[in-house]
Amino acid sequence: MIKNIYLRCALVLSCICVGSAVLIGGLHTATDYYKETHKSTEAPAEIQSLKPGATFEEVADFSPISSTESSTKVTITAVYALKEGGQTTGYAYKLNCSKPVKTDVEFTVLFEGPAQAANINAVKPSNINIMVGGDSGYDGNIIKLADGIVEGSATANDYSSVVSGGTKSQKFFIDGVQAARKDYVARINGQTGGPTVEKTPIEKIYGDLYKSNVEDEFTAIKGDTTHCSYEITNRYTVTLTDSTVTKAYAGTTSFQDPEGETDVVKIVAAFSGDKASVKLDGYSVTKDISWNDYKSYLDGVSKGTTSLEDENAVHTGSTLSTNAIRDLIIGMRADYIANYKTVLEEMYGTSYVSESVDEYAAVKGDTSHCSYELTKRYSVELSDGTTGKAYEATTSFKDPEGETDVIKLIAAWSGDAANAKLVGYKLTKNISWDDYKGYISNVASGTTSLEDESAVHTGSTLSTNAIRDLLLAMRTDYIASKNA
């Protein structure tokens, strides 16, 4: 045929390639078409078998979420809604429970019917399917446990139904059921349109709306006592929704248990209040141990019924752990007190020496822009011998809709009568249009003068005028106090 060898090679090879491409391309199109027309209306087998014949619809926009339950990492990989007559009557979950370097437990679980968070321990799954059963050879025990939970003869509320033989995997499994149950209770009541978000420890203490920043300059504090060795690893500045600022600490304490093993507990604890009356607002355990009676001790401390100083209160039944926790909390509290700054201390900075509340009759006033009140006045001793004054004040004015807006703040002043200076301010009640903040900052830094009426036009002229009048009133009072 064709004589030239190179040509022949190229021709043959390209023919084969073309033939191959045609065959595969054609087949690919055909299989795609087949897949489209034969899309199964059934959910994957492991979900469908939870309730054969029922309709399961995969929840869209669900991306796998992990949470830590009693130190097992539980990942909900898929959620399907059980639909009956168009209504969602339950949810099925596919879960994976594991710790690194241990065999996983994978299962699907179906919850049906109404459920309430308050009653979460009574929520029972209607069916469970174990796909991967954990420690090989012991998967029988997980299956028995699952059957028991569905029947009602075993409980998923704690580890009491765990039998020996693969206990770790059984515990993982129970953690998984609890995680699914939590999500179900939220989801069936319409509370989660999307995936459940795991709350951080500080969120668990204070609730949803807040802000917390870890303090980078904090260096870990270690301590050793007769009961334990502890380490305070992080300090956080927590700002609550009402603008109060508190501190939270993350710490670890380790101690020897009666068997000689080292137990480790990690907690996050939040403190508030001034130096004389520090309050434990709450705590969140990030790494727990099985004997956790120390929790009732901490509950008492945060409620105020138990005092940290009382050594007898420690005898809760797990004295070792409670003592270890107590030492850690006392260490945290000591740091809190050492670093505690009052609001005024923060404002005046290093020149702050001390403060006291003045005998002061509230000063009220009305201007064309607002009504204000100087509610409280503090005298602040400064390091250069002078005395500054700080005011708690309120100003209220009508917004364009006719509603009354109120702004509350604390403002600090220093300097003599001729050079009264606004040192700083802190808002305790804010409004949404807060361009006036830029105005106050400029006044404090000196770039804007209170005298200058045109500087008021920040974009929220109403509020800025109200603030200006307030500041003018404060300044008048301050100068008067200096001259008195």
């Binding site: 191959s20 595969i24 690919h28 690194p100 370097v101």
Partner: protein, 200 residues
Amino acid sequence: MQYIVSFILAIVSYMVIDNVILSRYFGICSFIGVGNKIKSALGMGLAVTAVTLIAALVCWPLYNFILVPANMEYMETIVFILVIASLVQMVGFFIKKKSISLYKTLGIYLPLITTNCAVLGVVENNMAYDFGRSMANALGTSLGFILVIFLFACIRIRLEGSNLPKAFKGVPIALIVAGLMAIVFMGLGGIVDLGSWGLI
């Protein structure tokens, strides 16, 4: 820093813990056939390493930047194997030029690298990974391959002189030795948990 450490850990993991021959079952034909000559074993290991690394380097972008955007993922098998086959030819030319003796020692094994499951297996696995991890996979796999081939050649030298039942001589005892090596390597499982480094 974290990235470098996790890269090194990934290499170690793919090299030793999830060893290409003893744990992932790739490259067994070449492994059994390598015999007891250490020099040829090492030479083969190096050739496989070269091919694996270059193949991984070339195929990953090929897959992710050409096949995927064109929705032609199903062509991956053909594309990869052609790349590997041509790479083997090129490596063969290179070795022939540089060292005729090595070329002769490798003999039939050189073209057999094309059919070495390890190379194609690594390239196929890499489709699911990001670039860093795929290179760690390629490096770890090659190093693991060399390690096991070398150990195996050393063991086989000892096997030569031993008194085996006739039925076991040759391939059967080689496989049983491989099984014992696999048990040893199993013990290393769990040393590095890629999951806790966020690599999984």
